[in-house]
């Protein structure tokens, strides 16, 4: 397989090499180069080393595997494709994601899945294996966010203020979530069998990607959070 040695390349050079590259390739020695694979389609790449911020921004249809942690803004406004992270990710992952998948083995920082969107059958999916930081799913308008809370080490599965401004889509948190405070405009309840069925396909794909078993994932109940209104701020205004 083709190898791009990123050790001495800046992000612009990495992306130029990447656009020239064959459909399948490996980036070696990555260390903080931003915007890798921004807007590209039709490639399968593996990254060894730490990619910089905005990995896979506007990703159109490509598969990215990172064998390490990733920084902030993974999959910013991504449209299609899949980003697989064998590690943790930073803040604002999947910002305004419109489609595709971000599967993370470890934990996510603040504001994961913010502004996530969806239209008809085009539904973005984000699965966080560990825990998520505060403001998970802020302004979520569509799509599916799943947090598994594996290897929690005693931490809460999400930080503070999850689902702030959420007005669409669905969030699944593994566990009963009794210690989580949700805002008024959403409803959190134990996921029923048919609701879990909706995400079974994603979970089994995740298990395959990271070597977990479905039994293990489903050994705990899931909490499903959905918004009560598509128009959370409607009553706030008076025409003047």
């Amino acid at each position: 397989m083709q190898i791009i040695d990123a050790a001495d390349l800046d992000y612009r050079a990495v992306n130029e090499a990447l656009r020239e590259a064959e459909s399948d390739f490996i980036i070696e020695g990555c260390c903080g180069q931003r915007f890798i694979a921004a807007g590209i389609s039709g490639k399968n790449l593996t990254i060894n080393g730490i990619p910089g911020n905005a990995l896979g921004a506007y990703l159109n249809n490509a598969n990215i595997t990172v064998n390490a942690n990733a920084q902030d803004a993974v999959g910013d406004t991504m449209n299609e494709g899949k980003i697989l992270i064998h590690g943790n990710i930073g803040d604002a992952a999947g910002y305004a994601m419109r489609g595709g998948k971000i599967y993370v083995q470890g934990s996510a920082g603040y504001r994961a899945g913010i502004h996530m969107k969806a239209y008809k059958e085009k539904i973005p999916v984000m699965i966080i294996g560990g825990c998520a930081g505060s403001f998970l799913g802020e302004y979520q308008a569509g799509g599916v966010i799943i947090v598994l809370g594996l290897h929690k080490d005693g931490r809460r599965i999400v930080g503070n203020f999850p689902c702030t401004g959420m007005h669409g889509g669905k969030m699944f948190l593994r566990g009963s979530c009794e210690d989580i405070h949700f805002p008024k405009q959403v409803t959190a309840k134990c996921a029923a069998a048919d609701e879990l069925e909706e995400i079974r396909e994603y979970l089994s794909e995740y298990c395959l990607d990271f070597g977990y078993s479905m039994d293990e994932l489903l050994s705990e109940p899931f909490t499903i959070i959905t918004p009560d209104s598509k128009n959370p701020y409607k009553q706030m205004y008076v025409a003047n």
Binding site: Y11, R12, N15, R19, R34, F35, A38, G39, I40, S41, N53, A54, A57, Y58, L59, N60, D72, A73, D76, T77, N79, D91, A92, Y95, A96, R98, R111, I114, H115, K117, A118, Y119, K120, K122, E138, Y139, A141, G142, G165, H167, G168, K230, N231, P232, Y233, K234, Q235, M236, Y237, V238, A239, N240
Partner: protein
């Protein structure tokens, strides 16, 4: 009725001797002001629903209608004007945040009107713009600080991406959703014909309009509606919207009832869901984050498109602009506090931000003081109302102007300032199919072309009078301006002398 009653602001006056009860007014009014008493065969009206959009007045075949301001008054009180009192009643009735549309209507200073333009007399000649060459073309974009040559001494003629405009005006951002499909189409057609650009606003780009890409600025706002690689590729430039003059520091919010059909698909959110664009980009909390967003967009488009960063004119705008100029942006767009909007909290619209004239003067001077004016082009908006405003803006230091309200007026808007209702009788700020179809894009674009062509003529007349035959020789040429009735401080900020000096 009772304590909650507020007397209607407007009265519909019908000249009964002219009215033929043809019911055109009834059909034209989406606010349902007019109705017909079938038995008596006379027209009736409910003044309380009237927003004074003048649609019925314009379409009444016998000129039987006029709208007047109600003379039912509260007791005069200079400290408590009727408007203020009524706003309190509205809030006491509803508990709601006051919501308004279009630009700040308050009688705050309009500096354009206190600036006068020069003309040549004797010492150098004015130029006849009708018969001599007169250039209004501008290129927006970063100009490198140093000329590069090959080893053989040949000039390296590659430049960072530039936007070419036939005249220093662009249509500024109005999203598909806040305005109608036909309004967008009118703007796109006109921009293409005029050789200028229009701006998608933050609602994405309808697939029918991708073909106008070279005349399109695609906007990326905090909600990232409709943003994907093809969208970014489609435009001639990408604009990051940080703020808007009508509501600096405040986000956008397109109510779910406007998220229907194609708008839902274009924005990629489910039908009926509110489209929420909060104030900040949640990946920009600091200026270095702006650099990240700028370069992620440049990487995604292989450095082929200039990136515009649009901000509202606020107190510290000079320092903000300096930061943006160092962030990799190619163009800075500044929106003054009189800029329009489809909906903004009234209090924010009327009290936050500063006039574009002062912001422009301060920014242009600051960038020059720092030696980085060439790093960016400056585009200003926020109530550019005429060719004279354009000329004054250019002479103060702008590269080009953003125009939106004037463009809407050309499309039929009568500034009734109720866009938020979604019942625009002129087919502009509405998504109701029966209203949208009232705006014919062919006719709309023609009116926009007329307006801009007329402005272009006027711009050339001004330039000719000053003996300037290329718009770049006017840019920042503040000696061409004088203030009238301005204080020392205002003149100092504007960087101009007083008339007579």
């Amino acid at each position: 009725m009772g304590i909650e009653f507020i007397y209607p602001e407007f009265e519909v006056i019908r000249n009964k001797s002219r009215c033929i009860s043809c019911r055109v007014c009834e059909r034209q009014c989406a606010n349902e002001v007019h109705s017909c008493d079938e038995k008596l065969k006379i027209m009736k009206c409910d003044d309380s629903k009237c927003v004074n959009c003048q649609r019925c007045v314009s379409f009444c075949p016998t000129k039987a209608l006029k709208i007047v301001k109600s003379d039912c008054t509260l007791r005069e009180n200079a400290n408590w004007p009727a408007q203020t009192v009524k706003e309190i009643y509205k809030q006491a009735n509803s508990g709601g945040v006051l919501l308004s549309s279009m630009g700040n209507p308050k009688p705050l200073p309009v500096y354009w009107d206190k600036i006068l333009i020069n003309a040549s007399q004797v010492t150098n000649p004015s130029i006849d713009p009708l018969r001599e060459p007169m250039e209004t073309r501008v290129f927006l974009g970063k100009k490198p600080s140093k000329v590069q040559r090959s080893k053989e001494g040949k000039l390296n003629c590659t430049l960072p991406p530039q936007l070419e405009l036939s005249m220093p005006v662009m249509f500024s951002a109005m999203s598909y959703g806040s305005i109608s499909y036909n309004a967008h189409k009118s703007l796109a057609l006109a921009a293409a014909e005029l050789g200028i650009l229009y701006n998608t606003g933050e609602g994405g780009l309808h697939e029918d309009f991708y073909c106008y890409g070279e005349n399109t600025v695609v906007q990326v706002a905090s909600g990232r509606f409709g943003v994907h690689a093809d969208y970014l590729q489609a435009g001639a430039a990408i604009e990051i919207k940080i703020g808007q003059g009508a509501k600096p520091g405040i986000g956008g919010h397109l109510p779910g009832e406007k998220i229907v059909g194609d708008i839902s698909r274009t924005r990629m959110i489910p039908e009926g869901s509110d489209a929420i664009s909060p104030a900040p980009h949640h990946d920009i909390y600091s200026i270095e984050d702006l650099r990240q967003l700028v370069f992620s967009l440049k990487e995604a488009t292989e450095y082929k498109k200039p990136v515009i960063v649009k901000v509202a004119a606020v107190h510290n705008i000079a320092a903000i602009a300096s930061g943006i100029a160092r962030s990799g942006a190619d163009i800075i767009a500044i929106d003054g506090f009189r800029g329009g909007t489809g909906a903004a909290p009234t209090r924010i619209r009327d009290h936050v931000g500063i006039p574009i004239e002062l912001a422009l003067a301060a920014v242009d001077q600051r960038l020059r003081d720092e030696g980085i004016r060439s790093n960016v082009s400056l585009v200003v908006g926020g109530s550019i109302r005429s060719a004279a405003d354009v000329i004054k803006a250019i002479a103060l230091g702008a590269d080009a102007c953003y125009v939106a309200t004037a463009a809407l007026l050309a499309l039929g808007c009568h500034l009734c300032r109720t866009c938020q209702s979604g019942k625009c009788n002129w087919g502009i700020a509405t998504q109701r199919p029966e209203l949208v179809k009232r705006l014919n894009p062919a006719m709309g674009s023609e009116r926009l072309i007329h307006l801009m062509t007329a402005w272009k003529h006027e711009i050339k007349e001004f330039m000719g009078g000053m003996g300037i035959n290329s718009i770049e020789a006017l840019r920042g040429n503040r000696l061409m301006l004088r203030g009238i009735g301005l204080t020392e401080k205002e003149l100092e900020i504007l960087g101009i002398s007083h008339a007579g000096e």
